[in-house]
């Protein structure tokens, strides 16, 4: 890392607010259909529950398969085609199976100015895959993403929807070692 970037990343460490620990995950013991119906009840009009319902289905199956769309459609009353059309618009919905861990590297301008490209290359090298693909063992998906809203504390890396900031290339290997240890 060049000295200017190193100085910026050190400054970011001082200004970044402390992130609270994750909340306990929601109870998922009830059938998916019941959980979707509970969300539908929150809105004045049921259509507003479509995106939350798609999220619940993705959390259940890891991605949105034809069967997942059928289930969302059955519970919400929309057609599977409409559900798929809506899902395809949004970046966070997965239309294909993904790895057990999803690693997202922000490459938008603020992160790029402080070396996100080097962090991305290091992930690519360590995992042996190009961004946008999944390792052969199904453990990791690597993606580039657009601005995640951590611009002053970049480069921003999000692992399974949790932010890690600032994330220089030196943090890549320790993170992967930790994730590999967890899933063994």
């Amino acid at each position: 890392m060049d000295p200017a970037t190193a100085e910026t990343l050190a400054g970011a460490m001082e200004t970044r607010p402390e992130m609270p620990p994750p909340l306990r995950p929601d109870d998922t013991s009830a059938p998916l259909r019941d959980r979707i119906l509970a969300v539908v009840a929150l809105y004045p009009e049921p259509r507003s529950a479509l995106i939350p319902a798609l999220r619940l289905a993705q959390e259940e199956y890891g991605w949105l398969s034809t069967e997942a769309f059928e289930q969302v459609a059955d519970a919400t009353g929309f057609t599977p085609a409409l559900c798929k059309s809506v899902a395809s618009f949004y970046d966070m919905f997965r239309l294909h199976p993904a790895g057990a861990h999803e690693i997202c590297v922000c490459t938008n301008i603020s992160c790029a100015l402080v070396g996100a490209g080097e962090t991305l290359r290091e992930f690519s090298r360590e995992l042996g895959i190009e961004p946008g693909s999944t390792t052969a063992d199904g453990r990791f998906t690597l993606r580039t993403v657009e601005c995640y809203g951590g611009c002053g504390w970049g480069p921003v890396v999000s692992v399974d929807e949790r932010y890690h900031e600032p994330f220089g290339p030196d943090r890549v290997k320790p993170l992967l070692d930790e994730l590999r240890g967890e899933s063994q």
Binding site: D2, A4, T5, A6, E7, T8, G11, A12, E14, T15, R16, P17, E18, M19, P20, P22, L23, L42, E45, R47, S48, L50, I51, P52, L54, R55, V86, A87, F89, Y90, D91, M92, F93, T107, N108, I109, S110, A112, L113, V114, G115, A116, G117, E118, L120, R121, S124, R125, E130, E146, C147, G149, G150, C151, G152, W153, G154, E161, R162, Y163
Partner: protein, 436 residues
């Protein structure tokens, strides 16, 4: 350094739990507002001069006054879909001061007689969603949210709604379309949301920072808030400072401050003795300002007079290592990725923009390509339903205007002369010997 007064983030650590927020006087403004006539609360916000902190800078009180009186249902939608590149202030407000947002929502809901309020938070902000979820549960158990708020007879419902990743949903009509469960495409205006918004009902859409400022405005009074700032830009604002500075972060400053106060005073200037090459003053969609404009005020009018826009308050500093063609390419790629495809000039123009800039960076561009690029930008500007296409056209045109010689060198020398020094190079060139 000018006045360092802060209002919204005037504390260390956080006030995530309701108790610490109450200890600091929190939820007193809600009591005050519930004791007033709803219309008087709108007038108070109007008097304060508060302007929308999301990007457009429209006066908040006036926006609320556009709602037709007495029509039900009516909705308040909170725009927590912060996604203009460079902007990360709403995230810090939600993380450190979530109850200020909730109290602001309650006061505004009461003022506009909202049937219910929806917080549309971007899907990627999972931790922030959890903070708000917990804060809402606390507010509910303490009687601030729910039926008969604090014995006033007013019922307040707040629904927390997660988006799923689409920049365009920060545009208010796209946000409403998305909240209705559809692809987040903008709508034609008029009708404006105040007349036909969510479910075609009167709807007010306000940004997180805007609403979180309201409890403080009620507490201090509209006149006192209006006394901070300039003639037309009142109060304090949280600026997101990023890019090549020593201390990036969010800084709340009165609107009488200058870019120099923020970038040098707060951010320590460029790192490692570098010099500032250019400044993005209001998020990635805004035209560049140059280092000789550092003494420009950070209020809406001063930045506009200097040739750019205050936008979302996101200031990105670019130092002398950076290749402006690479930066233009990155900006254009972003807007191309996020174009919803509804309007032809944006859908086609952002693609053309990316293709031309890519040719310039790769060294395959012809002499006519720079003018073609400016021509494409010109054919997007002002020709679409929403400003997304403009958000590519305006900055890209300004990069070419200010750094035409750099773009020309790429064409003349058949490629990028700055690969070795530019921090963005690693996205576009093999800079490390790592196999691609």
């Amino acid at each position: 350094m000018s006045d360092t007064r802060r209002i919204l983030l005037d504390f260390d650590g956080d006030r995530r739990d309701a108790h610490s927020y109450e200890q600091a006087g929190g939820y007193q403004s809600l009591r005050t507002a519930l004791g007033m006539e709803a219309g008087d609360v709108v007038s108070l916000v109007d008097t304060s001069g508060l302007r929308g902190r999301g990007g457009a800078g429209f006066p908040t009180g006036r926006k609320a006054s556009f709602l037709p009186k007495g029509r039900t249902p009516a909705y308040l939608c909170v725009n927590a879909d912060e996604s203009e590149p460079g902007t990360f202030k709403d995230r810090e407000i939600m993380l450190r001061n979530p109850h200020a947002l909730i109290e602001g929502i309650l006061i505004m809901s009461y003022a506009m007689s909202a049937t219910s309020a929806f917080i549309y938070i971007r899907g990627e902000y999972r931790t922030e969603f959890e903070v708000l979820k917990r804060a809402l549960e606390e507010a509910h158990s303490r009687g601030y949210v729910g039926r008969n708020v604090l014995g006033s007879g007013y019922d307040a419902t707040i629904v927390l709604h997660r988006g799923a990743g689409a920049y365009i949903c920060g545009e208010e009509t796209a946000l409403l379309t998305s909240l209705e469960g559809e692809r987040g495409q903008p709508r034609s205006k008029p009708p404006f949301p105040a007349v036909a918004g969510l479910y075609a009902a009167p709807t007010l859409v306000n940004n997180v920072e805007t609403l979180a400022s309201i409890p403080y405005i009620v507490e201090m009074g509209g006149e006192a808030y209006a006394a901070i700032g300039t003639e037309r830009s009142k109060g304090t604002r949280v600026f997101s400072l990023s890019g090549n500075v020593k201390r990036p972060g969010n800084y709340e400053l009165p609107l009488t401050s200058t870019l120099r106060d923020l970038i040098e005073g707060k951010g320590g200037g460029a790192p490692d003795g570098r010099t500032i090459k250019a400044i993005i003053p209001g998020g990635s969609s805004t035209p560049l300002l140059m280092p000789d404009q550092l003494d420009t005020g950070i209020d809406y009018e001063s930045i506009a007079a200097a040739g750019s826009m205050a936008g979302s308050g996101a200031v990105v500093v670019i130092d002398d290592r950076t290749c402006m063609v690479q930066l233009a390419l990155r900006v254009a790629q972003f807007y191309r990725h996020e174009s919803c495809g509804k309007c032809t000039p944006c859908r086609e123009g952002t693609k053309w923009g990316v293709d031309i800039i890519q040719r310039i960076e790769e060294g395959t561009a012809g002499q006519h390509d720079l003018d073609l690029l400016l021509n494409v930008c010109d054919r997007i500007l002002g020709k679409c339903l929403c400003p997304l296409g403009d958000a590519m056209a305006m900055p890209v045109a300004s990069y070419v205007t200010h750094f035409r010689d750099e773009f020309q060198r790429h064409i003349d020398e058949g490629g990028c002369p700055f690969v070795a020094q530019s921090p963005i190079s690693s996205l576009y060139h093999d800079t490390s010997g790592v196999p691609a």
